[in-house]
């Protein structure tokens, strides 16, 4: 029989906290304070202002009214009359953002895949080029596309000069373009149109799409592709059954990220979209800075836009989890 000394079970002496731990805490607290002052407070203010009240002919005052939210969903004159103007604008914001983000990811995916098959040096050159294009501001890009698509000096003029317009008329496609609102009786026209709006928005986020997809595609195990080929899969079958399922999560994630990013597009919409098809972002600016100077209503629209983005991100997360659970 062995007697075990009680001291053997005694708790080890408490270790003194090193000095650097308290230093780290201080830094974390400082960062936390900065976040609170510059992120949480302005955000809280926007939410608070969204319940404020506009004073006719003057600014606004603090209040707690749901009038702004009512105006957004059913119009200011409700219940006498109902208008869905702002819901419609939210609808356009969602429509443009969905199509443009899907278009950007759908076109960036094959490009990025082919890029990852290039030599390291060639990949680096492409990435530098794409990163450089990110430095262009939205205003600059829209200006470029504005010129490219303008009726007098852009593609329509080129169509006319090269005889492409006449050819389109001869083969009958011109009428189709007119039906789609992409031509007037004389020539093709791209402004204003949903086509130009979505194309420009898609171009705006295209480099982001490539950069978001690049890590997943460059890590893609080439032996999976080769294994599929040795089992009789043609290139398209390989893409459908191996590559796409392997990068499904990054593709869904990138699309949602770009979608949320595009919900707030402003310049491209004001330049390319028909005023009747403007979005919530434009409407917010008009309320806050435009003729109406109605900050509370602008704040309401901003909050709703934010909630919409959050809802869609949540849906994306749920979608990922649902399909991830099946793995």
């Amino acid at each position: 029989m062995t007697t075990i000394d009680d001291t053997a079970f005694a708790a080890p002496p408490a270790r003194s906290r090193p000095n650097w731990a308290s230093g780290t805490n201080l830094i974390l607290m400082a960062i936390g304070a900065v976040l609170i002052v510059f992120c949480i407070v302005p955000f809280g203010l926007v939410i608070a202002i969204s319940f404020g009240q506009k004073i006719e002919g003057a600014a606004w005052e603090w209040a707690f009214t749901f009038e702004n939210y009512q105006r957004f969903f059913v119009g200011a004159e409700w219940p006498d009359t109902v208008t869905f103007l702002y819901l419609q604008r939210l609808g356009y914001a969602l429509w443009y953002a969905v199509i443009a983000s899907v278009l950007a990811v759908a076109t960036a995916l094959p490009f990025t895949y082919l890029m990852t098959r290039l030599s390291r040096a060639a990949q680096a050159r492409w990435l530098v080029f794409l990163l450089a294009s990110l430095s262009l501001s939205e205003v600059f890009i829209v200006m470029g596309w504005d010129i490219l698509l303008s009726n007098r000096s852009g593609l329509p003029a080129l169509f006319k000069a090269t005889g492409l317009t006449d050819w389109l008329k001869d083969v009958g496609w011109f009428d189709v373009l007119r039906e789609w609102g992409l031509a007037n009786p004389r020539n093709v026209k791209f402004k204003p149109s949903q086509f130009a709006t979505i194309l420009t928005m898609s171009y705006l986020v295209w480099p982001y799409a490539v950069i978001l997809l690049y890590p997943a595609l460059s890590r893609l195990d080439t032996s999976l592709i080769e294994a599929a080929r040795t089992m009789g899969a043609r290139p398209f079958t390989v893409a459908r059954t191996v590559i796409l399922p392997s990068v499904r999560l990054p593709v869904i994630g990138s699309t949602f990220l770009l979608f949320v990013f595009l919900l707030g597009t402003y310049v491209a919409i004001t330049v390319f979209a028909n005023p009747a098809q403007h979005t919530t972002a434009v409407s917010i600016y008009e309320s806050v800075r435009g003729a109406s100077l109605n900050a509370p209503f602008g704040a309401t629209q901003a909050v709703i836009l934010l909630i919409t983005a959050a809802v869609f991100l949540g849906l994306g997360q749920a979608l990922n989890r649902a399909s991830g659970g099946a793995r």
Partner: protein, 357 residues
């Protein structure tokens, strides 16, 4: 099917030659091992056969059909990859049935055939598992079943055992060989493990630096190596440097008679190679050695000796080796004439070694 034949096949990447021009035949229903150290070109050769690399020169003939220009997906060659390359988004049954599904076979039929293949590789009941839920050995079996699903003309395996632990590897080598014999499918296995090649192969192709060193059955590769590279790469060997004189070799101050007489002109620098297990120890003899180290390996004992002709290692079966043998003992060393192999000594300063024929 009349086997696979490579005619004047070679592969270069830029200025680098991965596989030098070679002719090779793989007999119908035989298992051939491509054996060699890393970077010897064996995987490149296998990938050319699979259609994953295009040969720089030469033709690949499947029987009488030239398949050189056929893309991988048209060749019907099943391949098991080094990392198994199982699709993580599919379960075991879907992985095995992949080749059938994409070929248009109905899902239920593909499932039934996949289940049959899983029975064949002893994975009954694993069909609904995810790939992440399988062990290394199970993954390998799935990869084998998947490659066999399309009933391939040729079965290719690229270092299929390298991801397995030593014990499992040995078991799988025997299992794979039995499966291959049962199916009678022409099989090519790439390996750098000589033991694996010796266990499984009907024919071993030894390669180094993109060249063929020897193509022969395992016993011939071991007992009659074609050159010093094969002798050194396959199994253990004692290497002695000497010079040819008349019907023997002079090593240091000793003269070693060789029978039949060496086919080298007198004065040629040569390497004399002898397998450790072919050396016998006696109480006394013309060649005496001093024991410097004894290594007990359980089934055998390794005796390291210094002799007038150089350092030698003898391997004796545990039942044959005197247990009293210890460091410092002097013993007679007998090198059986039939067990000695002579090769030109490429590293010797005098490069006059040449075959007399």
């Amino acid at each position: 099917m009349a086997g696979l034949h490579l005619e004047a096949i070679s592969k270069t990447f830029g200025t680098q030659t991965a596989v030098e021009r070679m002719d090779l035949s793989f007999g119908d229903g035989e298992l051939t091992a491509l054996l060699g150290p890393s970077g010897c070109g064996k995987t490149t050769l296998l990938r050319m056969i699979a259609g994953l690399e295009t040969p720089s020169t030469g033709r690949i003939m499947l029987g009488d059909t030239d398949v050189t220009a056929q893309p991988a997906h048209k060749r019907k060659f099943g391949m098991v990859f080094q990392n198994f390359a199982l699709f993580p988004h599919l379960n075991v049954r879907e992985n095995v049935g992949y080749a059938l599904t994409i070929a248009g076979v109905s899902k239920s039929e593909a499932g039934t055939r996949a289940d049959r293949l899983l029975d064949l590789v002893q994975l009954t009941g694993f069909a609904d598992r995810r790939i992440g839920q399988l062990s290394g050995g199970q993954r390998q079996r799935v990869a084998i079943a998947r490659a066999l699903a399309q009933e391939p003309d040729i079965f290719l395996l690229d270092e299929p055992m390298s991801a397995l632990d030593a014990k499992l590897r040995e078991e799988m080598q025997v299992e794979l060989r039995l499966l291959q014999q049962r199916l009678g499918i022409t099989t090519i296995v790439v390996t750098h493990d000589q033991r694996e090649a010796m266990t499984m192969a009907d024919q071993i192709v030894v390669m180094s630096k993109g060249r063929l060193e020897q193509v022969a059955p395992p016993d011939q590769i071991y007992n009659a190596p074609a050159n010093s590279f094969v002798a050194e790469f396959i199994g253990k060997a004692n290497f002695l440097r000497g010079t040819v004189r008349d019907a023997g070799v002079v090593i240091g101050d000793s003269y070693l008679p060789i029978s039949p007489p060496p086919r080298f002109i007198n004065g040629s620098p040569v390497q004399v190679v002898c397998r450790p297990e072919q050396i016998t120890l006696t109480d006394a003899g013309p060649l005496m050695g001093e024991v410097v180290f004894v290594r007990d390996l359980g089934a055998s004992r390794e005796i390291h000796l210094t002799t007038p002709i150089g350092t030698l290692v003898a391997e004796l079966a545990a039942t044959m080796a005197p247990t009293t043998l210890k460091k410092g003992d002097r013993v007679g060393v007998h090198l059986p004439v039939a067990a000695l192999h002579l090769f030109p000594d490429g590293a010797a300063p005098d490069q006059t070694a040449m075959a007399a024929e």
